[in-house]
């Protein structure tokens, strides 16, 4: 029998593949300029959303009719709106709302979608058929219409907005995770732990979930962009956060009436939505390429 003799000094530290793959991921991600820009923008948004509201000196909801519809100036960087509220302050305060909606709705959709996807892919059969047909039905609706229907049933509030956008994210996660689960499930190590008598829960959470994580992470990032866009759309239609919440979509909607005289009312919230969505999209794309170098090009 050939045994490897541990020559002194050759005993290497074991290389954790997880840590190693993160290092690789970071290396590849760094090469992608667009993704780096997207990532930095997200970081800026995050910081601004969390500490921004404490730094602004003005009240986002206090009307000051005397200074309404003023253009950008040193005092009001993005100008004032039709009630004389500082638009810059409102946008900073709205950042938190936008991110709350984006993160929570995607988290909600992600958790439900991943669960349904894994169950569907792992058990297969009738359960799979039923779950996936329901997902198909959800997908058949245009996203905004589905969210619209949910909000109009539940009523317009921030929580309901999150639920609506969350539900509309479920099928995307379910489908992707089901596909990955199908391929991982066939690997021999799953059979090996099954032969050892592992419960389904152990197999799903310890052996399948960690191995289908990378498409989930990419989808989370890309989905946040879509969720924010949908949420803004709903608020624009008056079905999101009730006024005077400084939600960007709602600001856009309010400013619409003054678009001719004071275009900055819609320009800045609109620009912010574009930047936010763009940042998450290019970062998500970069992440996908970095996680799967084979799919490049």
């Amino acid at each position: 029998m050939v045994q490897q003799s541990p020559v002194a000094g050759t005993i290497r530290k074991p290389v954790n593949p997880r840590v190693e793959s993160y290092k690789n991921l970071w290396r590849r991600l760094r090469k992608n300029k667009a993704a780096v820009v997207g990532g930095l923008l997200i970081l800026v948004f995050l910081v601004a959303g969390i500490i921004g509201p404490y730094l602004t000196t003005q009240d986002p909801n206090l009307p000051q009719i005397s200074i309404k519809l003023q253009g950008p100036s040193a005092e009001h960087w993005f100008g004032t709106d039709n009630y004389g509220r500082d638009i810059f302050t409102r946008i900073i305060h709205g950042m938190g709302i936008t991110m709350t909606v984006g993160f929570f709705s995607v988290a909600l959709g992600g958790i439900i979608g991943v669960f349904l996807g894994i169950v569907s892919g792992y058990y297969g059969g009738k359960l799979d058929t039923v779950i996936m047909r329901i997902m198909d039905i959800l997908l058949a609706f245009p996203g905004i219409l589905l969210a619209l229907a949910i909000v109009s049933v539940l009523g317009g509030s921030l929580t309901n907005l999150i639920i609506a956008v969350g539900v509309f994210s479920v099928p995307a996660f379910a489908r992707i995770v089901r596909g990955s689960t199908l391929s991982v499930r066939r690997l021999e190590y799953i059979d090996a732990v099954k032969a050892l008598g592992a419960s389904d829960a152990r197999i799903i959470f310890k052996h399948i979930l960690p191995n289908v994580m990378s498409p989930i992470i990419v989808q989370l990032t890309l989905r946040i962009a879509t969720a924010v866009l949908t949420a803004s759309g709903l608020s624009f239609l008056g079905l999101g956060a009730p006024p005077p919440t400084p939600e960007w979509g709602a600001m856009l909607s309010e400013g619409r009436a003054y678009m001719q005289q004071a275009p900055h009312l819609v320009l800045f919230p609109g620009l912010m939505i574009v930047l936010f969505v763009l940042a998450f999209n290019i970062f998500g794309d970069g992440l996908r390429d970095a996680l799967d170098p084979k799919m490049n090009k």
């Binding site: 541990p6 074991p14 290389v15 021999e188 732990v193 099954k194 050892l196």
Partner: protein, 344 residues
């Protein structure tokens, strides 16, 4: 000498449904394993050989209920396995383990060797958590690995070493029967020999019983006590190693054996080349499944399914499923369109 029956498989069938149409109705079945029966005694090594797709791996998986068998009974150590609930089956899994073919796919890439073995023992509640580490080291040493490798990840090992990890995992729960599903097929020949020797050593040390699934007749000849030859989901011949390798009766077994390469360039050897391909297991031929390729096929073979029985001139326990064993042996039945190639 009466040996104890450890595993008794009776009338095992494994059909996989083929779904089709809009509503996903079952249109047909792949009859991967079709009514096979055999027994394995304690401490012996029984091999299943056959071409790819003949159902040998499926048989192993059906015994372990990795795929629920369609029909038939699997009695292990006196307990019927096929009727157990999933939960009851889990506790029985301790006694039946499996070693897989692909050492690169059979270990979770995110677990260290110690994690893999620890998990196996956790699932079967083998030892209290504190004593497991010691046992893990013991297991690694048993399979020829070292203590310092315990905290490494699978990608840091070679194929042969990974196969040893797979063996250690199977051993960790003290099984009685290990199914080796093409356990050495993916390894280099020199490594194959090492792993085979290891398996033999372990068999002696732990009184293991092996069901060895392989397409490699050389390996099978080396390790087996008894051999089962399968063709298209059915057993065509079964017997001890001597009977199968020196005194094969079934035309298929003969053809299979003639394909073993002989490491002697001067040896003159009759090579039986079978015509055509293995028919589809979706619609297997009626009668004897081998009749479409058998050089001795008669009209009877197309209608009647031959039974697996002891024919004249065969030892006890040696059975073949062919209508014309005697006729072929005494030469009254000549091979039609027998393709013979001679080397030498």
């Amino acid at each position: 000498m009466v040996k104890k029956e450890l595993l008794k498989v009776t009338g095992l069938k494994q059909y996989f449904p083929i779904k089709g149409g809009l509503m996903g109705r079952t249109v047909n079945h792949v009859k991967a394993v079709d009514d096979i029966s055999f027994t394995i005694h304690e401490g012996e090594t029984v091999s299943i050989v056959g071409e790819s797709g003949c159902g040998k791996s499926t048989t192993g998986r059906a015994i372990l209920r990795l795929e629920e068998p369609t029909e038939g009974s699997v009695v292990f150590n006196g307990d019927e396995l096929t009727t157990l609930s999933k939960r009851e089956m889990r506790t029985h899994r301790k006694d039946l383990q499996i070693i897989f073919q692909d050492p690169y796919a059979s270990i979770n890439p995110r677990q260290t060797v110690a994690d893999v073995l620890d998990e196996a023992m956790t699932i079967q509640k083998i030892l209290p958590a504190k004593q497991r580490r010691k046992r893990i080291i013991e297991l690694l040493e048993t399979v020829g690995l070292n203590e310092y490798q315990a905290d490494r990840y699978p990608h840091e090992f070679s194929g042969g070493q990974r196969q040893r990890i797979g063996i250690a995992r199977a051993l960790s729960v003290d099984p009685k029967l290990i199914i080796c599903d093409e356990a050495v097929s993916a390894l280099d020949v020199s490594i194959q020999a090492q792993v085979l020797n290891l398996l033999e050593e372990l068999q002696e040390e732990f009184n293991l019983t092996y069901l060895f699934i392989s397409h490699d007749l050389g390996v099978v000849r080396h390790i087996s006590d008894r051999v089962i030859v399968m063709y298209l989901g059915k057993i065509v011949e079964i017997g001890d190693k001597y009977s199968i390798f020196e005194n094969a009766k079934h035309p298929y077994t003969k053809a299979l054996l003639s394909a073993i390469p002989v490491p002697d360039p001067k040896a003159v050897k009759k090579h039986i080349v079978l015509k055509g391909d293995v028919p589809s297991p979706i619609d297997p031929p009626a009668g004897c499944r081998f009749h479409t390729r058998c050089p001795f096929a008669q009209d009877k073979c197309k209608v009647d399914v031959p039974e697996l029985i002891v024919h004249e001139g065969m030892r006890e326990g040696h059975q073949a499923a062919c209508h014309f064993v005697e006729e072929i042996e005494n030469g009254t039945l000549q091979a039609a369109e027998f393709e013979e190639t001679f080397f030498g």
